[in-house]
């Protein structure tokens, strides 16, 4: 009976997925708006990655707002969970398990690679899929691994806070520079466009992307660390 109902469920799911797969087709054309952006971003901003170009320049103010939301989340979590810096391990009779030596060493080996990958994703924001938010999330996942595998690690909140604030200030500063030297707030034309498709190109987009990456990485790391205690 159980086997029969399992089989029935599998068959039903199979039918549903077959329907989805069979009904899938590549879209032949893009909408007029998308076409406009596809032509405009590489020409005006010099960024092959259209999404990053839109996100950082045309909707730069919106992105600034998103970062502000993240910052408020970090601050809120800090207010709610911070303050008591007592180690939770002091409960009598319940010693925490000794962390595994192998997992700790494995984390020490993989962590540099994870952070390197995060830097790569941040740096390539204007060229290929990636950017500040994604790379920052990669970095924060590395922080999470650090805390899980090596529970004795203490994060330097002061340093992270200063880094994050500095990145934010420079971000807004670049925005104001755009207001002064180019067409408007967060305009990326304050730096030369450079050669299309190389690392140093697309005006201020790579700089803003790197700042976003630093900021997001630091903020998410602080949030994760707050939840640990």
């Amino acid at each position: 009976m159980k086997a029969a109902s399992s089989l029935l469920a599998v068959l039903l799911f199979g039918a549903v997925f077959a329907g989805i797969v069979g009904g899938y087709g590549e879209r032949e054309s893009v909408s007029a708006l998308a076409e406009q952006y596809l032509a405009m971003v590489p020409r005006e901003l010099g960024a092959p990655n259209v999404v990053t170009g839109i996100l950082i320049t045309y909707r730069g103010f919106d992105t600034l707002g998103e970062v502000a939301v993240l910052f408020m989340v970090a601050a809120g979590v800090g207010v709610l969970l911070g303050g008591k810096d007592t180690t939770t391990a002091s409960e009598p009779g319940r010693e925490p398990r000794r962390p595994s030596e192998l997992v700790g060493n494995g984390a020490e080996i993989t962590l540099p690679l994870i952070f390197l990958f995060g830097a790569y994703v941040i740096k390539n924001g204007h060229l290929s899929a990636g950017g500040g938010f994604q790379g920052g999330a990669v970095v924060a996942s590395g922080t999470m691994l650090l805390m899980l595998a090596l529970p004795a690690t203490k994060l330097n909140h002061g340093f992270l806070g200063v880094t994050e604030s500095l990145a934010g200030v420079v971000y807004v500063g670049i925005g104001i520079l755009g207001l002064v030297f180019a067409a408007g707030f967060l305009d990326s034309h304050i730096l030369p466009l450079g050669e299309f498709g190389t690392l140093i190109s697309a005006g201020a987009i790579p700089v803003i992307s790197a700042l976003l990456g630093v900021k997001v990485g630091a903020e998410l790391s602080v949030i994760i660390d707050r939840f640990r205690n």
Partner: protein, 113 residues
């Protein structure tokens, strides 16, 4: 070239399927983790090798990914099985010996310290 790649990917898929079947058929947690670890690692590597035949210019990147899998997959299995043993997950009735539990008992606390 593409044929070799396809065959490798297919073999890899077969090993991944075997890993899933092993998860279903093995008697207890630890043996299931064993079945999952080995077959899925080889399956992954075969799929990556097959992709390398499809796109020879990705070869180095795929090699890096393969080493990453080799490094992390056994390690996560180790972490899982260690945690499972520490909370006394029951073992299969056919289990013969448990030296780790004996060691823990000898040190005077039931919990793996």
């Amino acid at each position: 070239m593409e044929l070799t790649g396809s065959i490798l990917v297919l073999t890899g898929a077969f090993f991944l399927f075997s890993a899933g079947l092993g998860l279903l058929r093995m008697p207890d947690t630890f043996t299931r983790i064993q079945a999952g670890t080995k077959a899925s690692t080889l399956g992954n590597i075969l799929v990556l090798a097959g992709l390398g035949f499809y796109h020879p210019d990705w070869a180095l990147k795929l090699l890096v990914v393969a080493y990453f899998v080799l490094m992390t997959n056994p390690l996560s299995s180790h972490a899982l099985s260690r945690a499972a043993h520490a909370i006394r997950t029951p073992m299969a009735p056919s289990t013969m010996v448990d030296a780790l539990r004996e060691e823990g008992d000898r040190q005077g606390n039931g919990d793996v310290s």
